[in-house]
């Protein structure tokens, strides 16, 4: 159904289209959670960190899923605010959510960095720099609910909820209820 509403809407259509429904979003996050378990040799080394503000609720949902899939391991949950690391802070009004909260030392850990939409990759670059100030993770993996393309930096996601081709002028709105593309 999500695929259906997508076709033919990317460039010329005017208006908005729901590309992921509430249940699509829930299933995508569940699948990402299972993939994280599959790909990590030891879940005890994993920490899930949501990017302020859009990635935080997804990170929370992933952590809840991980607790169900592997009840013996408690995977810590963090949040990272990248406001101070942006390369474009002087170009647009800066937004701040809650402060960074990273409950454990990151050195040696596998960090799963979580955001809602992957677009140019600049926010992820800033987040990588921010994580660096909290230690040296063994590796950092990137989980996103939506990959909309148009990368401007050599950054790729490890876990993707859904690839959505978009026009560069489209806007992608993500909430817990729906993912909507406006053109």
């Amino acid at each position: 159904m999500a695929d259906h509403s997508l076709s033919g809407q990317s460039s010329e259509a005017v208006g908005s289209a729901v590309v992921l429904s509430q249940s699509d979003i829930r299933r995508a996050i569940t699948r990402i959670s299972h993939e994280i378990v599959e790909r990590s040799s030891d879940l005890a080394d994993v920490i899930v960190i949501g990017m302020q503000t859009g990635g935080v609720w997804i990170a929370e949902a992933i952590c809840r899923n991980l607790a169900t899939i592997e009840p013996t391991v408690e995977v810590p949950l963090g949040a990272v605010d990248i406001t101070m690391y942006r390369d474009d802070y002087s170009l647009r009004p800066v937004v701040t959510g809650a402060p960074t909260n990273i409950p454990v030392e990151l050195t040696g850990k596998t960090v799963v960095l979580v955001d809602d939409v992957l677009y140019t990759g600049r926010t992820v670059r800033a987040a990588l720099e921010a994580l660096n100030d909290h230690g040296r993770p063994r590796r950092v993996q990137l989980a996103v609910l939506v990959d909309r393309g148009h990368r401007e930096l050599p950054i790729r996601p490890d876990f993707v909820g859904k690839n959505i081709p978009t026009h560069i002028s489209d806007e992608v709105d993500v909430s817990e209820d729906a993912v909507v593309v406006r053109s």
Binding site: Y89, V94, V95, P99, T100, H134
Partner: protein
């Protein structure tokens, strides 16, 4: 917001935004490496025509933690001694490339005058009896964060004690705290009470012992030595007897109250008790918080759009 000259430039929303941004800065200050690249490439000049320890070092530390470059100017070791005017000094530094001036001067209004001699941002770090806005913000930050009940101060009773009339700290802090809803009582002998108590939305009393048990925040001001030479305080012993924080008075503070002082303290004058012996003292917390608050001010002026854009919504 381009300059920060007075607390009167700040709406309640602006104040709350700055306090919220300061939370982000406080988190940075707790890290093993307390430094972020936010103001990389910006140059901040601290231009102090009047002595200062904590305000200058606090501002310079704040700028460095945001990766700005810092130029330090002090009047005592500069060409001011050769007769260079303030205007020439500012224009000279400006020509070297400065993004923000942090200005302190013993005359009210100098920071405002500086804005007409440079295109850089200007932050008032204390001018005469007029204003000291970052002190007021760090006081508000300290009180709200110690109380852990958000930015609102409704119902909070603050007593500011000492030479209120000549104090830019009292003037600025009273304005910010009342803007957030606090009730401020100014406590001083009548010669040291300001003429505009009502305009400051405060009340005044000359009886310290009447208010000490009933305040949530006790804010002691420094008794400035030069005042004692004038007729304003004819007898320092009598002044201390009525307005100093003695061990006996400290005992009467409510257990949950906060004791604050902008520094530097005059031990044996207004502070006759060692603050380290007073559990309610937050005097060093004020100093720590000062860095986070000044980082928030610098970032809001130099790093982004206006302060009111800061904590709003998404993208």
């Amino acid at each position: 917001m381009k300059h920060l000259l007075s607390t009167h430039d700040l709406s309640r929303t602006d104040i709350e935004s700055l306090l919220n941004v300061a939370d982000h800065m406080a988190e940075i200050n707790q890290r093993p490496v307390p430094k972020v690249p936010a103001l990389r490439g910006k140059t901040v000049a601290s231009v102090f025509f009047e002595d200062s320890t904590r305000t200058r070092l606090s501002f310079e530390t704040a700028a460095k933690r945001l990766s700005a470059d810092v130029m330090t100017f002090s009047a005592s070791s500069s060409s001011v001694n050769k007769g260079e005017s303030i205007r020439d000094t500012i224009e000279t530094l400006s020509a070297m490339g400065v993004d923000a001036f942090i200005v302190r001067h013993r005359s009210s209004g100098v920071p405002l005058a500086v804005t007409s001699w440079t295109s850089a941002s200007v932050i008032n770090a204390g001018d005469g009896w007029h204003q000291h806005p970052t002190q007021a913000l760090l006081d508000a930050y300290t009180i709200t964060r110690e109380r852990k009940a958000g930015n609102d101060l409704h119902g909070v009773r603050v007593a500011i004690v000492g030479d209120v009339k000549h104090s830019r700290v009292a003037r600025s802090t009273t304005h910010v705290l009342t803007s957030l809803g606090a009730t401020v009582t100014l406590v001083a002998p009548s010669t040291l009470l300001p003429n505009d108590v009502t305009a400051q939305a405060a009340t005044a009393t000359t009886n310290f012992d009447e208010v000490i048990e009933h305040c949530d925040v006790l804010y002691m001001l420094r008794m400035q030595k030069e005042r004692m030479d004038h007729a304003l305080v004819p007898d320092i012993a009598e002044y201390c007897d009525r307005f100093a924080l003695t061990p006996a008075r400290a005992q009467r503070l409510a257990p949950g109250a906060l004791l604050m002082h902008p520094g530097p303290m005059n031990r044996g004058v207004e502070m006759q008790v060692d603050p380290n012996d007073v559990a309610q003292s937050r005097i060093l917390t004020q100093v720590t918080n000062g860095i986070a608050v000044r980082m928030a001010v610098l970032f809001s002026l130099l790093g982004s759009g206006s302060a009111s854009n800061l904590s709003k919504g998404n993208e």
